[in-house]
């Protein structure tokens, strides 16, 4: 613990020194979650250690289930959610991949579970350090996915996550993902709103079908080719609704707490020629790099993709409309794909009919290879060259890899 006393904020919250992991735990406490199940994995552990402390000290009245694996962690919260309990788990890396099977079942059963992911690279070789290979591997599991860039945003997004997940027109599980170590272990000032405000924003209402002996239902029946497709299509529809509701939730959060984000955030993009699109904690340094690039006369800008699933296509198109070149930084590799950055592939597909922006796929930060401010500056210079020459890059730039 560090010796910083909490301070009151102007809106009745408390300003505390918290890491993203601790901020998520604080939000879970404020949201009066009923069941928590988790298995330890670096760098997720401090979320659940904190929650275990809250439960042990009576600050949160929840069942804390210290399971024997991540597979069981998600199975336990799934069972708890199926009886109407607000439930939470957290993981990283191999743990998320070990849960993979259950991820699809949680979304298929339409259970509004929330999970935080302290993103970390995947084995082999084993690395405890950060990249986005874990979340990118589960992007098609039917979960709503947020990439958040600070401890404050981790707290706020956890509040929004329950509100969105439990919305009766959505009923999908939500992942709140942030960078392992870079965010999960970095202490920042965080304004926490307390239980009353959190529960007022995301009230506990059981909006989904539950297992209740007074009204018996069968969940998870076996389907034939006559039915399976339509049931899966309902998830497609739910994601569409989730995008609309995510916009509302952003707006309502902003009105209530006086701070906000947006599904795609932009920095100096309105008059920029070249912009870098980043996710999660890269958002801080890339903005500093934009300022420095501007001083050098480069018309640089930056974008942050905050909501990844459902994909906020309109917001993205709107923020790139004045650009010549967009560099998309992926912290995961889609091996053998062209380009090899999974986010770049997706962005190219999403914008191709409605935008002429040239997209440069950039892979960086793999296994937490540090990307410094000067690296972003070099990338801005490269993007300017692409723009000046009118190039249409079609391969991935593996930035910083040693030949």
């Amino acid at each position: 613990m560090i010796g910083v006393a909490p301070k009151e904020t102007s809106r009745g919250g408390l300003l505390k020194a918290l890491s993203a992991n601790e901020a998520v735990a604080e939000a879970v406490k404020d949201l009066d979650v009923d069941v928590i199940a988790a298995y330890p994995i670096t760098p997720q552990t401090t979320v659940v250690e904190k929650l275990a402390e809250y439960v042990a000290n009576g600050l949160l009245d929840a069942e804390f289930v210290p399971v024997e694996s991540e597979h069981s962690a998600l199975s336990v919260v799934l069972g708890a959610s199926a009886v109407g309990a607000r439930s939470f788990t957290a993981t990283s890396s191999q743990g998320l991949i070990y849960m993979h099977e259950m991820l699809h079942i949680a979304s298929g059963l339409r259970l509004p579970i929330v999970m935080s992911v302290a993103m970390r690279a995947l084995s082999a070789p084993i690395s405890i350090w950060n990249d986005h290979s874990d979340v990118m591997n589960v992007r098609d599991s039917g979960w709503i996915i947020y990439f958040v860039s600070s401890a404050q945003e981790a707290y706020d997004t956890t509040l929004m996550a329950y509100r969105l997940a439990e919305d009766p027109s959505v009923l999908l599980p939500v992942m709140v993902a942030y960078d392992g170590f870079i965010a999960s272990h970095t202490i920042e000032p965080v304004s926490v709103e307390g239980r009353d405000a959190a529960l007022d924003f995301a009230p506990k209402r059981v909006t989904w079908e539950t297992l209740d002996p007074k009204n018996p239902v069968t969940m998870g029946a076996i389907t034939s080719p006559d039915y399976y497709y339509e049931i899966k299509y309902q998830q497609v529809d739910a994601m569409k609704k989730a995008l609309e509701r995510a916009r509302d939730v952003e707006r309502e959060f902003g009105n209530r707490f006086g701070r906000g984000y947006g599904l795609v955030e932009g920095y100096m993009v309105e008059d920029a020629e070249a912009a870098l699109l980043v996710t999660a904690s890269y958002w801080d340094n890339v903005r500093i790099a934009v300022d420095l690039a501007r001083k050098k006369g480069l018309k640089a800008g930056a974008l942050k993709l905050r909501l990844y699933r459902p994909f906020p296509r309109e917001e993205l198109l709107d923020s790139i409309k004045n650009l010549k070149v967009l560099g998309v930084i992926d912290r995961a590799i889609s091996y053998g794909a062209t380009p090899s950055g999974p986010l770049a592939v997706e962005i190219i597909a999403a914008i191709r009919e409605r935008s002429n922006v040239a997209v440069q796929s950039i892979v960086a930060g793999i296994g937490q290879r540090t990307v410094y401010i000067e690296d972003y500056l070099k990338l801005f210079e490269r993007l300017k060259e692409i723009g000046d020459r009118g190039e249409r890059p079609d391969t991935t730039l593996f930035y910083g890899v040693r030949a």
Binding site: V35, P66, V67, V83, L211, P213, N215, T218, M219, I222
Partner: protein, 317 residues
């Protein structure tokens, strides 16, 4: 604790699993589940692992279940049940569900979903002490996928993955002893049962549901399709399993072990094996080998319970 079930008349008449399901004709899983629900009653939530019972009782948009029921996956019925129990506990404490009446939480899985792929989740649930009754219907192979061996397959048995060929002659490893493993978790109740003894089986379900913690009931489930016998012989074979000592109905309660269906005079194992096509390749010598293994197991159990609960083989039974 006094128990209601003493005779067959004490088993409730209410049926909570509907007929018209897709289990094979002569499948004894239906018999087991039917009795389980009669004992448990309506105030029950059932989690079923992937397997015969799951696919046969819930072909969307139909269901046979009159109690709330969920299927999640193959290997995690115990974990899902633990979550259901934890959820109810938290919600009851907060006054969000009616806590006056106890809700039974039952996990139901086959031998594959228990002995093999579900083993870790089962161990976790038992060790953490959730109030869940775990019932395994053991047909001694992966019958739903088409008769592949599991770690519950007995020695000598033919399956599609332990075929009888010129070099290998069926399963060659002993059956995993699930009850011993369950007891090692220091749980309050564990038992084995068999549908040929419905009162004994129902009483074990009743006890398993009454304890303050995890309980496991391991039930032998003769499988007409996988064991290769005529559908009408399921219960006869289940009884022969007990009469030959191939299966022992015993229980572990309050720290003590006892055999609940004693067999003063045993039939030779041949009487059980010869009823089933899966053992039809066995030679006289191989049957004698299985007899020796059963004799050793009987001796071990008799020692554990401190009496000759299972007697010697009597050839002219």
């Amino acid at each position: 604790m006094s128990f209601k079930i003493r005779t067959i008349r004490d088993i409730p008449r209410e049926e909570l699993i509907a007929g018209g399901h897709n289990l094979c004709a002569g499948c004894t899983a239906g018999t087991i589940v039917r009795h389980l629900l009669k004992v448990a009653g309506r105030n029950t939530i059932v989690v079923t692992a992937t397997g015969c019972v799951e696919v046969s009782t819930t072909p969307y948009p139909y269901t046979s279940w009159h109690v709330p029921w969920i299927h999640v996956a193959f290997e995690n019925a115990a974990a899902v049940a633990a979550g259901i129990e934890s959820g109810i506990k938290a919600l009851a404490r907060k006054g969000l569900v009616d806590s006056k009446e106890r809700i039974n939480v039952i996990a139901l899985a086959g031998d594959g979903g228990t002995f093999d792929i579900g083993f870790q989740a089962l161990s976790g649930m038992l060790e953490r002490g959730h109030r869940v009754l775990y019932v395994v219907y053991d047909n001694e192979a992966y019958m739903n996928t088409g008769i592949q061996r599991s770690s519950a397959t007995p020695p000598g048995a033919w399956t599609t993955t332990t075929p009888v060929g010129s070099r290998l002659r069926g399963e060659h490893r002993p059956k995993k002893s699930l009850i011993d493993i369950a007891i090692a978790h220091r749980i309050p109740y564990a038992a084995s049962a068999n549908p040929a003894y419905p009162v004994d089986m129902a009483r074990k379900f009743e006890k398993g549901l009454s304890v303050e913690g995890p309980a496991l009931v391991h039930v032998l489930m003769p499988c007409t399709t996988g064991w290769k016998f005529e559908p009408r012989y399921g219960i006869r074979i289940a009884r022969l399993a007990v009469e030959t000592g191939m299966w022992i109905n015993w229980e572990y309660e309050n720290g003590a072990l006892r055999v609940t269906v004693k067999v003063p005079r045993r039939k030779p194992v041949e009487a059980y094996l010869r009823m089933q096509g899966r053992f039809s390749h066995l030679t006289k010598e191989e049957i004698e080998e299985i007899q020796r293994m059963v004799d050793l197991e009987v001796e071990r159990v008799n020692k554990l319970v401190g009496e000759t609960a299972i007697g010697p083989v009597v050839r002219d039974y």
